[in-house]
Every structure is written in structure tokens, then in C-alpha cells.
């Protein structure tokens, strides 16, 4: 069953790009990564799904209910973490947590206590005294304390230190194992590769790839590093060619045998042929579209 489904979802505002004809499907229980650089439309998609902005065209469903007509019932089962974690000044962390719980009409005190303990968050601090990282922690507790079915997280790790990022993903894994669906946007590809099962790549408001993370990285494309030469012969069809001292890095797609034959006469010291990681796939998609 798909938890999130968008059909030709489009949002244009003024001159800003927004999103165009986005067709996205996230299955129940998935751990889904939404990748794209700043301004590609990640936040616009999320903000449309949550009803902060109205789609210009197309439609979307969450829990198989229309996002516009069933907004309130949908939101009661969503834990959302905005990219900018901003809260009311003058309030203490515990006031924010209890306000959020009350708005969900749930008693989350026990859950909040455990989460604050695991994230090392002081609930007596005032919001204006918090650093970005600590505000992010408040946002995490707000998103997790009512144990929703779906987590929508907009660049959740920015501002968190590596230890906290690790603990955060551990929390998400636990929730995912308990059956919840995770949808997170990021431009940090390594964390998507490490944690997500499926991923979509968005570019200039359009979806350019959507597949399992293993399929995305497990293409016939190979990352090739050649040590000992400074220019790549024209006969080799490489993309994303990068020169680094006496090393040439490039992506190669196609039969491997002709490549090896072409490499043979070259004065090479070392050759490395590996599977590309998500970052290279991502760059590959971005450059391919451009050319």
C-alpha cells in the first residue's frame, strides 16, 4: 500500500521554480530518501504534502486520503520536522513539547522523557537559549513523541553533531522496524545511502530518478580511476571526467572489455574500477541532464 502518492503534483509561485508534474510513490514501511540540492523543490514538495501551500495542479494522497480535504486527520498520524527548527520565544523546551502533545490530543510525557534522555536535551532551557543543534533536537522530539505512522523529515540532520546524527538514525531505524514509514529529504548523500531503502532524485522541480538505493548505485556505470596519466584518450567514452594530479577519475558505462583493451597500451601505474556511490550517481544524473 502506498503511504504517499502524488499525481502530477505541480506548484508554481511567481518566478520561483516550485515543482512540476511530480509523480512520487512511497510504500508503507519504507525508508525513503528524497535527494536534491538546495532549491530543487524538496521543501516545496514536503510543504505541499503537509498543506502549508496549495498545489497549483495535480493531487496527492497520504494514507490514501486526499491531502487537501483530509488535512487534519492525515496530520494526526504524521511526525514532521521542518528544516528550520523555530519555536516560540519565551517558552521552555518542556512547554513546546507539551503544547505539541496537546495539539495532538495525546499524553506523550513518558515518550518525551525517554527521547530527551537519549538526545541529551535539557527540557528546562528557554527556546532562545538553544543552539541550532539543540533546536533540532526539540524538533526531533516533537516529531517522534506521539509515535506517528509516517515521519516526514526535511533536512533533519543539518546542525546535529555526528554523534547525535547517529543516535537520530538509530531512533528512526527503531521506528521503521516497528512499522512506521520514513520519508526524509537531504542533500547529504552518504546518509541516504546508508539508511534508506528507496530514493528519489529531484532536479529543478522534476523527478529524474526513483528507485531502490541498491539499484540506483548498482547500474552498469563504473567509477574508474587511472593513476599515471594526465589526459584521458579520446577513444575512451568517459563522463564526469576529473583530473587530480597524475590521476584521472571518470564514470564509464558500457561493456568493460573494450575499455580494458583501450587501457592496455597506456602507461598506467594503477587502475581502480569500482561501483559508483550515490554521490557519483547523483552527479551523473545532474550532468547528464545538463548536457
Amino acid at each position: 500500500m502506498s503511504i504517499i502518492e502524488t499525481k502530477n503534483l505541480t506548484k508554481t509561485y511567481g518566478k520561483a521554480r516550485g515543482i512540476t508534474n511530480l509523480n512520487l510513490s512511497v510504500e508503507e514501511g519504507d525508508f525513503f530518501g528524497f535527494i536534491g540540492p538546495n532549491g530543487a523543490g524538496k521543501s516545496t514538495t514536503i510543504r505541499t504534502l503537509l498543506g502549508f501551500i496549495r498545489p497549483t495542479d495535480g493531487s496527492a494522497t497520504i494514507f490514501q486520503q486526499d491531502i487537501q480535504s483530509h488535512r487534519d486527520s492525515i496530520l494526526s498520524d504524521i511526525g514532521y520536522m521542518p528544516s528550520e527548527a523555530m519555536f516560540y520565544h519565551g517558552m521552555q523546551v518542556q512547554d513546546i513539547l507539551s503544547l505539541s502533545a496537546k495539539l495532538h490530543k495525546k499524553d506523550c510525557r513518558q515518550e518525551a522523557k525517554e527521547l530527551c534522555h537519549r538526545l541529551d536535551l535539557d527540557v528546562h532551557k528557554k527556546i532562545e537559549e538553544l543552539s541550532l543543534g539543540n533546536r533540532k533536537k526539540v524538533a526531533i522530539v516533537c516529531a517522534l513523541q506521539h509515535r506517528p505512522k509516517l515521519y516526514i523529515l526535511d533536512e533533519p540532520t543539518s546542525g546535529l553533531d555526528p554523534l547525535m546524527q547517529k543516535e537520530f538514525f538509530r531512533l528512526l531505524q527503531e521506528r521503521n522496524e516497528a512499522g512506521a514509514t520514513i520519508f526524509l529529504s537531504s542533500h547529504v548523500l552518504s546518509e541516504i545511502q546508508k539508511n534508506c531503502r528507496h530514493a528519489a532524485i529531484i532536479k529543478e522541480g522534476k523527478l529524474i530518478a526513483c528507485d531502490s538505493v541498491s539499484n540506483l548505485t548498482n547500474t552498469r556505470t563504473r567509477k574508474v580511476s587511472l593513476h599515471g596519466i594526465t589526459t584521458l584518450p579520446d577513444t575512451i567514452q568517459g563522463t564526469s571526467v576529473q583530473k587530480d594530479g597524475d590521476t584521472i577519475n571518470f564514470l564509464y558505462s558500457g561493456d568493460i572489455k573494450p575499455l580494458l583493451e583501450q587501457l592496455l597500451p597506456l602507461p598506467l601505474q594503477d587502475v581502480l574500477i569500482t561501483e559508483p556511490d550515490l554521490e557519483e550517481v547523483f552527479l551523473h544524473y545532474y550532468k547528464e541532464e545538463r548536457s
Partner: protein, 262 residues
């Protein structure tokens, strides 16, 4: 009532400061009256000879030497300006502050409808205005006791009722405008309150500007008319109520469909 309580809790300091300042000014004025009334004959003559300046503040219509006349004019200025500006501040900031301070995403990611949030926020504005006026009336009555003057109850209550409606109207107008803003429009709100206040002064001064009385709520809050007639100008009050309702409906219509700023 979660949002209503949140708003009251967030705003109690500003509420106390405004209320205390306005009440303090009113008390000072009332306590000054015995001193002033001794010299009032000459003062009244002076005001009578100041022509349009007195007319601007309606001081040609009431006897400044009597406590109710004096109170009406002073109260008109203190509570009119102070209360009107506080109402404008509350109304204009109540919606736009969520987007300005980037808390709108936190608030509206919860399962609560926008119209519910709006209703509770408007309720918190009304409640604060009402509470401020009740406190001020109470303190004012006490100050009358201190100087041993009798209150003309009907005129006194009508006066404060008119000011309450006036403040509600300004708050509603600003609330409606607030729905269209992405930034905090405190300047717009206070500016609007000032324009409406001066519109009434111009209206008092010039026959040609009489139409302004249909625009500014300060026209039905004109203390001197209320004191000398012991009644409110009901058509103007009615118009004010209609204007308030129209702006609130506009605000709801806009905000429930609005794209929230990030």
C-alpha cells in the same frame, strides 16, 4: 482552547504593561481634577476662546469644569489613543507573527484546522481587550472615590462601552489586514490607528470632512457627544460592527487558503 491559552501566556507581559500605563495615565488625570477645577473657570473660558482647537477635541461641547466633562475629554485621549493602539498592535501581529518568526510550520503541522487557530487567536485578542477595559474601568472608579466625585453612571458606562467597541473594531480591521501580511505589520497597525484617530479630529474641525465619521470608529467614541447626549450614535456603532465583521470574514477567507511563508 489550547491556542487561546498559548496566546494569552505569550502576551501577558505586553498586556500588563499597556494596561498599567493607560490606567496610570487615567488615574493621574482624575487625581489632577480637584486642583484644576479651582482654576477651571478661567480654563473653561480659555478653551471656549480657542475656537477650532477646542472643537478638534470636542471641548466646546462639554463643561470642562465638571468631572464628567473633564473625564470624557481626558479619557477620550488616553483610552482612545492607548487602547486603540493596543488593539491595533494585538490585531496586526496575531497572525503575521507566526510567519515572521517562522513558527507557522510548527503550528500548522499539527492536526488543528486553520480556521480553529484563527478563531482562538481572535478570541485571545478580544479577551485581552475586554480584560484591559474591565481593569481600567475598575481603577477609574476607584480614582473617582479618592477625589470624592460622583460618577454619572450612564454616561460613564456608555463612554467605556463605546471605547470597548472602538477597540474591537480596530482589532478586527487589523486582524483582517494581518492575514494578508507575511511580515509583522506593527507599523501598518499603529499607523492605521493613528490615521483613524486624526481622521476624527479633522472631522470635528471641518464641515466638509464630516463624511470621515463613517470611516473612523473614533467618531462614535467621541466622549463629548456621549457625555452631553447620554447616548451612543447607534447608526455609527452599527456601521462599525458591520465593518468589523467584514474584515474578520476577509481575514478568515484569506488565511484559510493562504500559502504560508517558509
Amino acid at each position: 482552547m489550547i491556542i487561546l491559552k498559548k496566546e494569552l501566556r505569550q502576551n501577558w507581559k505586553a498586556f500588563l504593561i499597556w494596561t498599567a500605563v493607560i490606567a496610570f495615565m487615567l488615574v493621574i488625570c482624575v487625581l489632577m481634577f480637584p486642583e484644576m477645577s479651582k482654576e477651571m473657570d478661567s480654563v473653561t473660558d480659555m478653551f471656549a476662546n480657542m475656537g477650532s482647537f477646542s472643537a478638534a477635541f470636542g471641548m466646546d461641547q462639554v463643561n470642562f469644569g465638571e468631572i464628567m466633562g473633564f473625564y470624557g475629554v481626558e479619557c477620550g485621549n488616553m483610552l482612545g489613543i492607548g487602547g486603540g493602539f493596543f488593539a491595533a498592535y494585538l490585531g496586526i501581529s496575531i497572525l503575521s507573527k507566526e510567519e515572521k518568526e517562522h513558527t507557522a510550520e510548527f503550528l500548522f503541522s499539527h492536526p488543528i484546522s486553520r480556521s480553529r487557530v484563527l478563531a482562538e487567536k481572535l478570541g485571545s485578542v478580544f479577551l485581552q481587550i475586554l480584560a484591559m477595559n474591565v481593569i481600567i474601568v475598575g481603577i477609574s472608579i476607584l480614582s473617582f472615590q479618592i477625589i470624592h466625585e460622583d460618577i454619572a453612571v450612564k454616561e460613564f458606562l456608555l463612554l467605556h462601552l463605546a471605547y470597548l467597541i472602538l477597540q474591537f473594531e480596530i482589532a478586527c480591521i487589523c486582524f483582517g489586514i494581518s492575514a494578508f501580511l507575511r511580515q509583522n505589520g506593527i507599523g501598518i497597525g499603529l499607523g492605521l490607528a493613528a490615521i483613524l484617530y486624526f481622521a476624527n479630529i479633522i472631522c470635528n474641525l471641518s464641515e466638509q470632512a464630516e463624511f470621515l465619521k463613517y470611516i473612523t470608529p473614533f467618531a462614535y467614541g467621541e466622549a463629548t457627544d456621549i457625555i452631553s447626549n447620554a447616548s451612543l450614535e447607534l447608526p455609527l456603532v452599527g456601521l462599525g460592527v458591520v465593518v468589523s465583521i467584514v474584515f474578520v470574514i476577509l481575514g478568515f477567507g484569506k488565511y484559510t487558503k493562504k500559502d504560508l511563508a517558509a
